[in-house]
């Protein structure tokens, strides 16, 4: 019996059994990530956007970050402790970034 046929999921739905997305979902997420990247580059070349490009790019990047973290890294489906550990590091990192920028007068220049 081949190795592939030896292991059979108990439930008909892979998602229901493991609580994790199906390959089709992963593919859809990849398409969304590609579209967001294309939008980022497209918006970048629109001159009329001006300084509004900064919040737009920040939001688009945050969306990509969340999609990868929640679906590919399975944070959405795993125990909350993992999310807490990751977000804690993120919060500290963001704080360090903002603090250093303020310390060196980035916002005043």
């Amino acid at each position: 019996m081949s190795q592939d046929s030896q292991v059979i999921a108990e439930h008909t739905s892979e998602s229901a059994h493991t609580g994790h997305p199906t390959p089709l979902t992963y593919f859809k997420v990849a398409m969304v990530l590609s579209i967001i990247t294309a939008i980022e580059v497209g918006v970048f070349y629109l001159e009329f956007v001006g300084w509004g490009i900064i919040p737009i790019l920040v939001l688009l990047s945050a969306a990509k970050f969340l999609l990868v973290a929640m679906y590919y890294m399975h944070l959405k489906f795993d125990d909350r402790i993992f999310s807490t550990m990751f977000v804690a590091g993120l919060v500290v990192a963001s704080g360090v970034v903002l603090a250093l920028m303020a310390l060196f007068s980035f916002f005043n220049s």
């Binding site: 190795q3 390959p23 593919f27 990530l33 590919y72 550990m85 590091g89 250093l100």
Partner: protein
Amino acid sequence: MAQATITEHGEHEPTTTGLNHRKMLMWAFLGSDCMFFGSLIATYLVYKNKSLAGPIPEDVFSILLTSVSTFVLLMSSMSMVLAYAALTRGRMKTFRIWLASTIIMGATFVGFQVFEFHAFVNHEVVVECDHINPADLTPVELEVSAGCVDGVHEVEKVVGLTPKTNLFGSTFFTLTGFHGAHVTLGLIWLTSLFLLSFKKGMVTPEKNLDVDLAALYWHFVDVVWIIIFTVVYLFGVFPGF
């Protein structure tokens, strides 16, 4: 016919949280790596526009090229998660195909980075002397344009960007260099998993945590690049930022 339940994370010894220690350790490491890259990104931002001489982002960055490499890395994340999904389903051949795809795309990304670094080090500034508008030139181009004397139509000069050139060079190469090192280590890890998968009993659906940990690391590397692409490249060439 034997039936086996595929546990998503495999069996592990009892723990106080009920969670696998190795997975907890990986997430703790990723949290700490966030802080590591956060400090490097902060340093880049703090020293931005403070270089006294030498190339600046507008001189060297190619957004088109970096967009392509970003897309490649994003797709490698997709192939990595599909490899893991195939492993949990017991589809070893599919697992190896997707893992090999991840390795190839990751290596392609590193190739893009090597090409980019090489281009930066050997960056050539070309100024066409006819109809020069100084307001449109970057400081480096202005400096090179000093060679536009009577009878000269075009001036070329190699003004490379290295970690020693200026603050932009130091912070850029440190940040992207460390990211590239992370990607390279990830490639070594994934390649070892790929090779081990051919040895009986080393990579199995029951031991899927080994691949899960590598996948988490790989996705983190991708996530960091998402931030670097926006903050360093896109914001980098945005006028006035």
